[in-house]
């Protein structure tokens, strides 16, 4: 299936839950309402013609310093789906505001989402409702803040931890 057909199929199935679709440089993207996210992802995985059996990547972007988007929802969580049998890709995005930074977890659909979501929590401070193990992935538990947020200065020092000598 080519990207336009994938977006068309999703549009026909979910209609209003798809806030926006676009294709830029050959990457097809569907922007989904948060309430419908899990349904869309599950449909992408289970529908025979779509067959997105791999979650290739899951990450987030903080748009608070992006020109023209300072006032909109602050975060976007980005899912890159890949279908191994059909050899096509899709990007699914969901917008999350700063006041309510919660997204339903996809770890029930793809086990790898577990670690990817932990990394997003670590770096952006977004929570994933229903996550089995919501711990930081790369940084340590005593770390204060979420470094990939745009308001985290790159030169901030963190307190030293470790055994007292």
């Amino acid at each position: 299936m080519d990207g336009e057909a994938i977006l068309g199929a999703l549009q026909a199935r979910f209609g209003g839950a798809l806030a926006e679709t676009h294709a830029h440089r050959g990457d097809h993207t569907a922007l989904v309402e948060r309430g419908a996210l899990l349904d869309v992802l599950r449909h992408c995985r289970d529908d025979g013609a779509l067959g997105f059996d791999m979650l290739a990547d899951l990450t987030a972007v903080d748009y608070s310093k992006f020109p023209g988007r300072e006032d909109g929802p602050r975060f976007e969580v980005v899912y890159h789906l890949l279908s191994v049998p059909h050899n096509h890709r899709l990007r699914v995005k969901v917008r999350v505001s700063e006041d309510d930074p919660v997204v339903p977890t996809a770890s029930g659909l793809w086990p790898i989402a577990d670690w990817f979501e932990r990394e997003v929590w670590d770096m952006f401070g977004l929570r994933f409702a229903g996550h089995p193990n919501p711990k930081r992935l790369l940084l340590y538990e005593e770390f204060v803040g979420h470094p990939l947020r745009k308001d985290y200065p790159i030169n901030r020092r963190q307190p030293l931890i470790g055994p007292k000598i």
Partner: protein, 462 residues
């Protein structure tokens, strides 16, 4: 879960004894492996819960090598991220370089020159061989085959000499550029490549004789750490591990980029998805990579680089002096001699491997030093606040790294700095699935399984 894996009796079960490790009435033992352990090449902590020698539960902790790669990329210009990408997978840095550049090129909507596409294929495949040599060599050393390690590191040395010949460095090569590569291949590269590959092939032959079929090696590898194809895909695992499970998915074949659709190669497949099949896939892929390099050099357009100065050479200092004295008439026509450090960057070579887009690629050094337009062009690309400015938008580019899908997701807000650079590390999914691979197996199985995952701390923790 059941302690002993069900199924027909294997050599392993025979050695363990019937029903061993079921552990009636005993306490499980916690055993932490790592973060620094002599048999683990890489800093990672595996917390295991043991029942006798059988692993009941395992938990992996990563992050010891976190260097804020993604945050650092947002601080400098688009080309400034390239040295950081060297340090992602430090065994095959060329693929990271090119993968990042290709993502930015996709965002810019430009296509690199034909010759550059071939150079990228050639250099990326040499890197892939280095990576596989290191992986197989190190993991067999951990199984006691120290000779194999020495042989393979020797072979890698020949390849690193090739890399050094082209890029000027062995590890931190920074050879990729958005819109091309730093410099063209040296003139004698073909002969050097053939000499090096002859040695590498001999080493591979020897290693095959030493390992494939070796009783000790097989006992530790066959049937250990296996994942089914469905599970491998659900865990997001790509690359040699996916192909070892029998899934013919190679981005170079199914979503070809650069010149991969113009070289012939096979996609080696395994059957059982265990450590032994991963080893076989890696060994076979090295031969395929060498085939690709040979074909790439043969099919490379542009031919030999013949820079003919026809006696019109003048040294750079003399050139500058003449300019200072006001003798500028006809200066542009005079070629200048570049420092030997800039070999391959002479104007004819440089224009062959870089796109002719003044907004993206630095002008060749002759133009920079020799004309005011070139100088301005150069400054407009390197001065703070100027530089490459992709239009606002986002792009995801996936290259077949040595460990699997190496993805770069780049977001631009239209300025000269990346708004967001995300690297999708190919070895993160298999490390996440490591508990799944070793649970129910024995403590000693951690080592070969962890070796076959080929964890690279640089790209795992970024």
């Amino acid at each position: 879960m059941d302690a002993a894996p069900s199924g027909p009796a294997t050599t392993r079960e025979f050695m363990l004894g019937e029903g061993a490790g079921t552990g009636g009435g005993t306490q499980p033992m916690q055993l932490g492996v790592g973060p620094q352990h002599p048999a683990m090449h890489g800093i990672i902590r595996i917390v295991t819960e043991l029942d006798g020698e059988v692993i009941r539960k395992a938990d992996v902790e990563i992050g010891y090598l976190h260097r804020a790669f993604e945050k650092d990329c947002e601080v400098g210009g688009w080309n400034n991220a390239i040295p950081y990408t060297d340090r992602l997978n430090y065994v095959s840095p060329l693929i990271n370089n090119f993968g990042y550049c290709a993502a930015v090129e996709k965002l810019l909507g430009i296509t690199v020159t034909e010759r550059c596409q071939y150079i990228r294929v050639v250099m990326a495949e040499i890197s892939r061989i280095c990576d596989h040599l290191t992986c197989v060599g190190a993991s067999s050393m951990e199984l006691g085959a120290f000779t194999v390690f020495l042989y393979m590191i020797k072979a890698r040395e020949f390849l690193w000499e090739l890399v050094e010949e082209v890029t000027g460095a062995r590890l931190t090569i920074s050879y990729g550029r958005v819109g091309g590569v730093k410099a063209d291949l040296p003139p004698a590269f073909g002969d050097q490549m053939r000499a090096a590959f002859k040695q590498v092939r001999e080493v591979l032959e020897e290693v095959h004789r030493l390992l494939t079929g070796n009783r000790i090696f097989m006992d530790r590898m066959v049937g250990v750490g296996a994942l089914s194809p469905e599970e491998t895909i659900a865990w997001g695992i790509t690359g040699p591990l996916l192909r070892a499970a029998g899934v013919a998915f190679d981005l170079r074949r199914v979503q070809p980029y650069w010149a991969y659709d113009r070289v012939e190669f096979e996609v080696p497949l395994g059957k059982n998805g265990d450590n032994f099949d991963r080893y076989l896939v890696r060994m076979a892929e090295m031969e395929q990579s060498m085939r690709m390099v040979e074909q790439g050099l043969e099919g490379m357009p542009g031919g030999a680089i013949n820079v003919d100065f026809e006696g019109r050479e003048i040294p750079v200092d003399a050139y500058v002096d003449r300019g200072k004295q006001g003798h500028t008439e006809g200066l542009l026509l005079l070629p200048i001699t570049l420092s030997p450090n800039l070999r391959g960057q002479e104007r004819p070579a440089y224009t062959q491997v870089n796109v002719a887009d003044k907004r993206v690629v630095l002008p060749p050094k002759e133009t920079t030093y020799g004309s005011i337009e070139g100088l301005m062009n150069h400054f407009m690309l390197v001065m703070d606040g100027n530089g490459i400015r992709p239009p606002a938008g986002e792009a995801y580019f996936a290259a077949e790294g040595a460990n699997g899908e190496l993805g770069f997701y780049v977001v631009s807000d239209g300025t000269d700095r990346p708004y967001r650079v995300r690297c999708r590390p190919p070895c993160l999914p298999p490390v996440a699935a490591l508990p799944r691979m070793i649970e129910g197996q024995m403590v000693a199985d951690i080592i070969p399984t962890f070796g076959s995952v080929n964890m690279i701390g640089g790209e795992l923790d970024r």
